[in-house]
């Protein structure tokens, strides 16, 4: 009846990145792998990931840890940075998404890495699951799983960051070694 009404939501995609993403094959174990850490510019994000890196390096005798910080919290990491991860790392941990735009873009980072064949896990605070999930749906990956840590992260002390990182390790390891889509997806 109202087919002549223009749908205002229909526009061109910005790129072809939003096709159904293919998730990378998981390794059986993290032992001896090369880990990438993709931090955003939010307070404590780098420190959080650094703690994650240290924990994983110790537990799994990682070959090396490559830490990088993307310049813009809103957008996905620049292509050269992504290429470097793809070139030099076997797995990547990205985060910490603790705001509206950065949680969404962290999920987008994770999915881009997956498409590049790198198993990735994204860390978001539990306050921003809605935007993280919305991004996953938008990118054709409803049910995409990521690791949550309680919100906020920005006000944590060094000790608090350490404890949170330790608490997140089991979920990070699970998502890096098992399929990252929810069973229902």
């Amino acid at each position: 009846m109202f087919e002549t009404i223009v749908d205002p939501t229909v526009g061109p995609p910005a790129s072809s990145e939003c096709d159904q993403p293919t998730l990378a094959a998981r390794p059986d174990s993290l032992f001896g792998l090369r880990l990438g850490l993709l931090a955003n510019t939010k307070r404590n994000a780098e420190q959080f990931l650094q703690q994650v890196g240290e924990q994983l390096a110790e537990q799994y005798r990682l070959q090396m840890v490559l830490a990088r910080k993307k310049p813009n919290i809103i957008e996905t990491a620049p292509e050269p940075m992504m290429a470097e991860f793809a070139d030099r790392c076997d797995i990547v941990v990205a985060g910490v998404g603790d705001c509206g735009s950065c949680s969404a873009s962290a999920v987008a980072d994770g999915l881009l890495l997956e498409q590049a064949g790198i198993p990735a896990v994204v860390i978001c605070t539990d306050a921003f699951m809605a935007s993280a999930d919305a991004m996953a749906r938008l990118r054709g990956a409803p049910g995409y799983r990521y690791v949550t840590t309680p919100h906020p992260v920005a006000n944590l002390t060094a000790g608090g960051i350490h404890d949170r990182a330790v608490a997140a390790i089991p979920a990070i390891v699970t998502l890096l070694t098992q399929p990252t889509m929810a069973a229902s997806a």
Binding site: M1, F2, T4, I5, V6, D7, P8, T9, V10, G11, P12, P13, A14, S15, E17, C18, T41, I73, I74, E75, T76, C99, G100, S101, C102, S103, A104, S105, A108, F128, A130, S131, A134, M135, L138, R139
Partner: protein, 327 residues
């Protein structure tokens, strides 16, 4: 809604309801847009309907002129408003941090300021009650921006939009500058436009406050009230958004302390302020705005009696209150 509707009013209401059901509205009724409407709007601009005027790389979404037109129609714009909508959209896209602003926890609102004869031609209010309500172009131009963000980018509250509270008046703040009663040159001229040219400026704001002092003719009293409302220039917690302030003065306020209160903070900073402003406002961006006036850089600057140059130095009481302190 499935039964044939013969009553045109019922039909119109059903069309509005249909738009609600699609999730296309900001909560208020929208005007359904047709292809013909979109063509009419696009024709006012002389631009290609398929031209991309904004992208959110991480969302994989882009906005075309035609899509902006559809949303402007839905917002209630007349075709002749559409160039102003596009200009405001363009300026907002230049604002540092604007790409993430629509999803930000801070939920900032665009402040859109229109200069030039276009105000009168379109009926954009630049006088009493300038923030509205009651004036179609003011209300619908600002609303169009909100619908473009919502429908074009798919950024909706509680989903990709993570505003914790939002802002009263978000998507409804579009004003004209009262150039005729202003003692200062128009915002657009400060931004680099020719005097009298039609121009749109915009910035993102996170709050709004009314400061009232109608019982003085002393510049310091007005400035002190303004400074007292603000406190020290805050460090902005989010790297993408600027902590600049915009002061709007009503005509009596602007004229009252005229000999001591100049629009750009005094001769000392005039030249450097302008140079900086020009750099930062190349395409009409922000910064001084208002029915009449603004104030610069979150910093209390004024001319002193007996010394026509010089920055204000806060006295001890002001320092204690944190007033007048530059960042």
């Amino acid at each position: 809604m499935t039964a044939p509707v013969t009553d045109p009013v019922a039909h119109a209401k059903a069309a509005i309801e249909y738009c609600y059901e699609q999730g296309w509205t900001d909560g208020l009724p929208v005007v359904p847009a047709t292809i013909a409407d979109v063509e009419t709007f696009v024709a006012t601009t002389g631009r290609d309907a398929a031209e991309i005027i904004g992208s959110q790389q991480h969302l994989g979404r882009s906005i075309t002129v035609a899509q902006a037109a559809a949303n402007a129609i839905m917002a209630g714009c007349k075709p002749e408003y559409f160039p102003v909508v596009l200009a405001a959209w363009h300026v907002l896209n230049l604002e540092r941090g604007s790409r993430g602003a629509w999803q930000s926890t801070s939920g900032p609102a665009p402040l859109i300021v229109v200069n030039g004869g276009v105000r009168s031609r379109l009926g954009i209010n630049y006088q009493g009650g300038v923030f509205g309500p009651g004036f179609r172009p003011n209300a619908t131009i600002a609303r169009a921006i909100g619908l473009i963000v919502r429908n074009g980018y798919g950024i909706r509250p509680q989903q990709l939009d993570q505003a914790t509270q939002g802002l009263p008046g978000r998507w409804s703040i579009c004003i004209g500058e009262n150039e005729e009663l202003s003692p200062w040159e128009p915002l657009s001229v400060v931004g680099g436009a020719a005097p009298g040219a039609d121009a749109v400026s915009a910035m993102l704001i996170r709050t709004c406050e009314y400061v009232d002092n109608r019982s003085t003719d002393v510049a310091e009293a007005v400035l002190r009230d303004l400074a007292g409302r603000h406190g020290p220039a805050r460090r902005c917690p989010s790297p993408g958004l600027t902590p600049d302030r915009t002061e709007l003065a009503y005509p009596a306020q602007a004229h009252c302390p005229r000999e001591k209160w100049s629009s750009d903070g005094g001769d000392l900073t005039r030249r450097q302020g302008r140079a900086r402003h020009r750099r930062r406002t190349q395409h009409w961006q922000r910064h001084r705005a208002g029915p009449v006036q603004v104030w610069r850089q979150g910093r209390l600057q004024r001319r002193r009696r007996g010394s026509d140059q010089g920055m204000h130095r806060p006295d001890r009481a002001e320092r204690r209150r944190g007033n007048g302190r530059a960042r």
